[in-house]
């Protein structure tokens, strides 16, 4: 039973692509067959984060328009053989995507993979609506700040109105992934707390990924964080989130300020 997941947020720069790569790799590590699909036509990034940018030949648009076979466009990950990437086109724009084309590609992916994770572009226009159109479930990525939360709220509204599942009268399964969570800044009142965000968005929480420099380092090296440094706090958060997506009951822990406080004290003493 395969499942199509859209990773979406409305706002840009909150961590959709990083989360897509990390969740995809975490699910693949669990033994599932996973495809990650870049819907950000014209501004593709997922290939870079996955470290596959030198192997892109055909892309989503080629497959959607019937110019290439899905097999030709899929790039198999070198580290994880059951993880594949369908890259976006960099030279085209989102108008090149048609609903029929996307539906065909998604149907074919559905028949071949356990999980298909669609990395949505920012915004609420064609690219974003087509990325969510055929999804079975959504991972809504938000940072603990008001503009990101409001944009996510808007996206949740669209998930409940503009997807095939909503139009059939079903209810879209939605999960909140809170990224860039900085316990220190939350404690100082510079960021919204987990409770604040959950109260505003009122969808179930999938995971809290702490703000961590390892994430940026992994991105620059072209390696999903769960492969780059599996012991790091964000990698553990993504691994837990992936298990929750599979239905496992993993206890949720809110990152606390203890470590950074300790580091601050330690840093001061050393100086």
């Amino acid at each position: 039973m395969s499942k199509i997941i859209v990773v979406t947020s409305g706002k840009g720069g909150v961590g959709k692509t990083t989360s897509t790569a990390a969740l995809g790799a975490a699910l693949a590590l669990e033994g599932h067959k996973v495809a990650v699909v870049d819907f950000d036509v014209g501004l593709r990034n997922l290939d870079l984060i996955m470290g596959a940018e030198r192997r892109v030949v055909f892309d989503l648009i080629n497959v959607a328009q019937g110019d290439a076979k899905l097999n030709q466009a899929l790039i198999r990950d070198k580290r994880l053989p059951n993880l594949s990437l369908l890259p976006a086109s960099q030279t085209r724009d989102k108008d090149a995507l048609t609903e029929e084309g996307v539906e065909r590609v998604i149907d074919e992916l559905r028949s071949r993979f356990d999980w298909v994770i669609c990395d949505s572009p920012a915004g609420i226009e064609r690219g974003a609506t087509l990325a969510m159109r055929f999804a079975d479930a959504a991972v809504v990525v938000a940072n603990p700040e008001v503009s990101s939360v409001r944009d996510s709220d808007r996206i949740i509204g669209l998930l409940d109105a503009k997807t095939c599942q909503a139009e059939k009268g079903g209810r879209m399964e939605k999960h909140l992934l809170l990224t860039r969570y900085d316990p220190g800044r939350v404690a100082r009142g510079e960021m919204l707390s987990v409770e604040d965000v959950l109260e505003i968005l009122s969808i179930p929480l999938l995971g809290i990924v702490p703000d961590n420099e390892e994430v940026l380092r992994a991105s620059n090296l072209g390696s999903p964080i769960v492969l780059h440094n599996a012991a790091s706090a964000p990698a553990r958060a993504y691994t837990d989130a992936a298990q929750r997506l599979c239905g496992a009951n993993v206890p949720m822990s809110i990152p606390s300020d203890q470590k950074s406080l300790f580091r601050k004290l330690f840093g001061r003493r050393a100086a």
Partner: protein, 267 residues
Amino acid sequence: MTQATCRSIRFRGRSFEALALEPEAPLEAWIDRLDVYLIHFPAFFASKPIVIDVSNLQLDRPNAAELVKSLTARGIRIMGLAGADPAWSSDDLPPILPRARDAAKAQMSVDGAGDVGAAARGLNANEQAAFLEIANALATDGRPSPAAPSEPPLRPNAAAPLVVNAPVRSGQTIQYLEGDVTIIGSVASGADVIAGGSIHIYGALRGRAFAGAEGEAQARIFCRRLEAELLAVTGVYLTADEIGTSARGQPVQAWLEQESIRIARLD
């Protein structure tokens, strides 16, 4: 009949809005003007309920059939003829509609229980009950029997409230000018709720609320937690900046008093 064993079908007389088209004499010139209109607005009559009112025309039956034919040929589907002689009623003409005054007369004529009883004679008990029901429905145009004591409605335009059983998300607009809106959930920042009557929010109001949008000055806004961007009653409004800090985050109601919005805590 308390032990009805068989159920008959249900029908009753009801009033619906229709578009009445009134051809004028001379008919040829009117049809020409209609053709010009159809060139400009070809889809205007498509899928609209159209009634042809011929009361201002001196038509005989063949002329009426001719008119109906020429209108049908232009893609106008006719649901009924008004102002026509009821005696014309036949298969090649749309149903003849009684005029309002005639309808009242017809209502009178079946209103007597004696008449109904006479007509119902010779039927079995079930059929008689069904007959009485239908006769009553026709007599009263589907409304409750006038014989029953009818209380004057408290609010003449009161409509059923709109109940929204989910949070209203940013970018969504709930508009219901017919009456009250009740929302079970929060209204997000960047969402609008517009009601002809009052607005009840069982959650936080973070967006904008417009009560009494069509001028109902008695309309109020109620919410569990006030974080609103804007509160308005009949177009008089307060922005977030103008809402006092004492009301923020509180369960409140807001109403119109002497051309300004008043806010008070609910507990």
